[in-house]
Amino acid sequence: MADAGVVETLLRRIEKVDDGVDSLEVANSLGVDHQVIVGAVKSLQSVGDVISAELRSSKHWELTEEGMEIAENGSHEARVFSSIPLEGLAQSELMKLSFGKIGFSKAMSSKWIRVDKTHEGGPRIFRTVESIEDQVREKLLLVQKGNTSQLEEKEKNELKKRKLLSEVTVKTYWITKGNSFSTTITKQETELTPEMIATGNWKEKKFKPYNFEAMGVAPDSGHLHPLMKVRTQFRQIFLEMGFTEMPTNNFIESSFWNFDSLFQPQQHPARDQHDTFFLSDPALAHEFPQDYLERVKKVHSEGGFGSQGYKYDWKIEEAQKNILRTHTTAVSARMLYKLAQQEKFTPVKYFSIDRVFRNETLDATHLAEFHQIEGVVADYGLTLGDLMGILHQFFTKLGLKKWVEVGNSGVFRPEMLLPMGLPEDVSVIAWGLSLERPTMIKYGINNIRELVGHKVNLQMVLRQPHMSTGLLSFT
């Protein structure tokens, strides 16, 4: 609440007049700063319809600091004139005065003074006129008294150029009586206090109304990352469908498990330097299951298990090369190999969601690393119909009403499964998709960098809604 005295005085002034008062005029007549009156207006506005205040802006001229000094002591040139006695003054002496330099040239151009350069003892200055009229000072005094209108526009601009005057915009209030005008104001309480509850005096108090149009204060909480929230949802779907999570916490993989075990030939473009990150340290993997490695070598180079093979010279050196895994299927291969080593085969359903790496050219939708979602089912006699059925269930749980291209699926080749030692009548179906793409579709994000990595906009992380129903909704 503003100063109660000022508020009361202001209300009296308003009461006396019929039309209204100007806040700046009130301030001037009371001899207080304009801001004090503005404060009083604001505080009165907040207590209801006591007054009505209309904001007005006006321009007016004001003296600068230098202008005020001149109004008080006279212009520099006038002060120069009056400093020179009849017998004249040495120029060097004049220049020692604070106003000497500017005043000298102005007084010279007004022809009030002259210089005798041949005077013995250095140049000397003499008056040339008896008396002068200090117009600059008089003009400034007019402005100071508020009689600016008596000056011509040209004169004002000249003074402005000399930096003695400046034009300022002033915002003032035109204050009139409000519908419930009164000169006595009861102070309004902002909030209920424990004391009021204890004493019961809240009953006599008036409370300031709340502004229900403002936003509330944001709760002080942390947030989960949107991509990780979607990961949680996908995990949940797999778990609901009875899939066991694979241990995918091994980013570095050998080419053997990443490519060769999947029956991908060693000259395949995906194994190129342009697509895959190779490691210089640790560069090579050691310790492969030797029997299995021999069977993989044979199926690639000579064929077998009903296959003609690729017929090329398979090299262990190529298989040993360490890389950053290009897909989580490398882990699926390890898991299926492990499964084949069991005494008796048992059907399994596996899933994983984890990072994979591609040495790709980066753009708005491609990064060098992304999350791959993978599902794998191994059982006797699985069919393409089973693959289609399970995909249908999976995408229905996602809330996908229409099929969009988000991933791929298939049946693992016998050249991959039989060398592992899985029974011949066991089929393995699998599908995979990226976690980023459905998340980008879901949140309408066009640039993947806004979603993943340090350039993420934290504001975006804070803004994301909770996903209660289907994870993705396409219509």
Binding site: E253, F277, A285, G303, G385
Partner: protein
């Protein structure tokens, strides 16, 4: 997946009808292809080089079609049309026959032992009485280029040379000679060069310079001569100018030199079978056959996929002819795949596998999920940073030496951002803060993710480690905030504050932290991580301006 660009109108003419874009998209889908993009040369140029360059380019509509990586027979208009026509029952699956020339002996290509040192294999064939048009000729050249880029692995495995047979005479000799001894006029040049001169000439050629490395360092270079000593080609770099083919060429001699003979045969088969339809006796080449056990009606489906099949009458057996165009068929399962495509994936009845399983979470991921929820509830916001970064991020910027980090190094990073796998989560969080400096203070971030460390006990020599990292960034360091978060985390993990069996922290020296403001975290007597106020130098190097406290610890010991 390779993409094949074909002119739409030309394609429709060859298919004998027009389609709307939607209809054609549907047809591609049924046949296992994908219509990737509908565009024009003009559009492509304007997108890649700007509108000004595109004016004057062709407006003719192009279909860009994605073709499976092993279906080399679909890499040109001819093969695509043939596949689709047979699929739509408009054309009978072609049978390829090898024919002998009407007069005289078959052509011979003699391979000398000298080639073993550089490029040991070569195969060749002749297309007789071919009629080229401008479009056919362009398609012929383009198929060569597509094969070079895909199966030929940029000419390193196989290189194709095509020659006008009527300008040369067999038998031909494929040999290898020191570069100084090879001299000929290469394609589209006006004078003769030695191989040594050619290699330096092509150093600046935007196209050919990519192939020079294949033979550059070899003592001898491969070369093919005719019986009069005319150079046909110096594979895999350039052909001779003498035998170049033109629109008027009637008989084409095709040679494929290779380091992989299987691929050379595939490539030669592709070149010959795709363009044999323009010969006066179309589709002539050899056939091979394998048989496949399955139902009778599959035979019809397979025939639609250019795999001529018929029931043998013996049980469920059907006999399938694999044409030379289908080098991708190496197992009965490939034939079954084609049967499924012909049947239509969407016509397959969906079933549910009766596989009974009990789901289990991976314990480390289960713990991670639980912790993430509670850390967000504790007021910290989750960040997600890259697992790859620069050496500087994990070493210099943190005041450490790279040799002390146990980092795994990448040998072929395209930029410095991918030099190493991260060994700590801290740099990622500090970079996230730097990118979000306009956010109101304090910033409280965390991440639970894997880092990678060299580990000799693993077959690959490295293993992941699951870390929890949190930072507090404000006008005051807020060590007590990070310390409080550690206490809360330990409470969640059911570890009591106590020396010995519980957890405690104890002063430690670490160049990442401000002296005297770092402590090591011990759980059951074992160090699991550190917390403290970051060193001002570290703060500066990550372009930050405020004090910051941080915590990083291993969470695997809590399993």
């Amino acid at each position: 997946m390779p993409t094949v660009g074909v002119k739409r109108d030309l394609l429709f003419k060859a298919l004998g009808r027009t389609y709307t874009d939607e209809e054609f998209d549907e047809l591609c889908f049924e046949f296992g292809l994908e219509l990737d993009e509908i565009t024009s040369e003009k559009e492509i140029i304007s997108r890649e080089q700007g509108d000004s360059k595109a004016s004057g380019a062709s407006d003719i509509i192009l279909y860009k079609i994605d073709v499976p990586a092993n279906r080399y027979d679909l890499l040109c208009l001819e093969g695509l049309v043939r596949g689709l026509q047979v699929f739509k029952n408009k054309l009978e699956a072609p049978r390829y026959r090898r024919v002998s020339p009407i007069s005289g002996e078959p052509q011979k290509l003699i391979i000398t032992k000298a080639t073993a040192a550089v490029r040991p294999h070569a195969v060749a064939a002749v297309l007789r009485n071919i009629t080229f048009t401008q479009e056919r000729y362009d398609s012929f050249i383009e198929l060569q280029e597509k094969l070079h880029q895909n199966i030929c692995r940029k000419r390193s495995l196989v290189a194709i040379g095509t020659h006008d047979l009527d300008t040369i005479s067999g038998p031909f000799t494929y040999t290898a000679k020191p570069p100084g001894d090879i001299c000929f006029k290469p394609l589209n040049q006006t004078k003769e060069y030695t191989a040594t001169q050619l290699m330096s000439l092509y150093k600046t050629d935007s196209h050919l310079r990519h192939y020079l490395h294949i033979i550059e360092d070899k003592p001898v270079y491969p070369v093919i001569y005719d019986s009069n000593g005319i150079v046909l080609s110096m594979p895999p770099i350039i052909n001779g100018d003498h035998s170049k083919i033109s629109l008027k060429t009637k008989n084409v001699f095709i040679e494929c030199t290779a380091t992989d003979v299987t691929k050379a045969k595939i490539v030669l088969d592709m070149m010959v079978t795709m363009f044999s339809e323009y010969c006066s006796q179309p589709f002539t080449l050899t056939i091979t056959g394998i048989s496949c056990q399955h139902f009778k009606k599959i035979a019809q489906l397979l025939t639609r996929m250019c795999l001529r099949s018929q029931a043998t009458g013996v049980g469920d057996e059907i006999e399938v002819e694999i044409p030379p165009t289908r080098s991708d068929v190496i197992h009965a399962c490939d034939i079954m795949e084609d049967a499924a495509i012909a049947y239509g994936f969407n016509n397959i009845t969906r079933t549910t596998p009766r596989t009974y399983t009990v789901a289990n979470q991976f314990p480390l991921n289960k713990l991670t999920e639980l912790l993430r929820q509670d850390l967000a509830a504790a007021g910290f916001t989750e960040a997600l940073n890259f697992a790859l970064c620069s050496q500087e991020d994990i070493a210099d910027k943190l005041g450490k030496k790279i040799s002390e980090t146990k980092a795994a190094h990448i040998s072929n990073p395209k930029t410095a951002e991918f030099q190493v796998a991260r060994t700590t989560l801290l740099p990622g969080l500090l970079k996230t803060i730097a990118a979000n400096r306009k956010m109101p203070l304090p910033l409280k971030l965390f991440e639970i993710s894997d880092v990678v460390l060299k580990d000799e006990t693993k077959d690959v020599g490295a293993s992941n480690s699951r870390r929890f990292c949190a930072v507090y960034y404000n006008k005051s360091p807020g060590f007590e905030v990070i310390h409080g978060l550690l206490d809360r985390t330990m409470q969640l993990l059911e570890v009591q504050p106590a020396c010995g069996e519980g957890y405690h922290i104890q002063a430690a020296d670490d160049s990442t932290f401000f002296p005297g403001r770092c402590a090591e975290i011990f759980v059951r007597g074992k160090s699991v991580g550190r917390l403290g106020v970051l060193h001002p130098d570290v703060i500066n190097r990550f372009e930050l301006t405020m004090p910051c406290s941080a915590l990083e610890m291993d969470i695997e010991p809590f399993l």
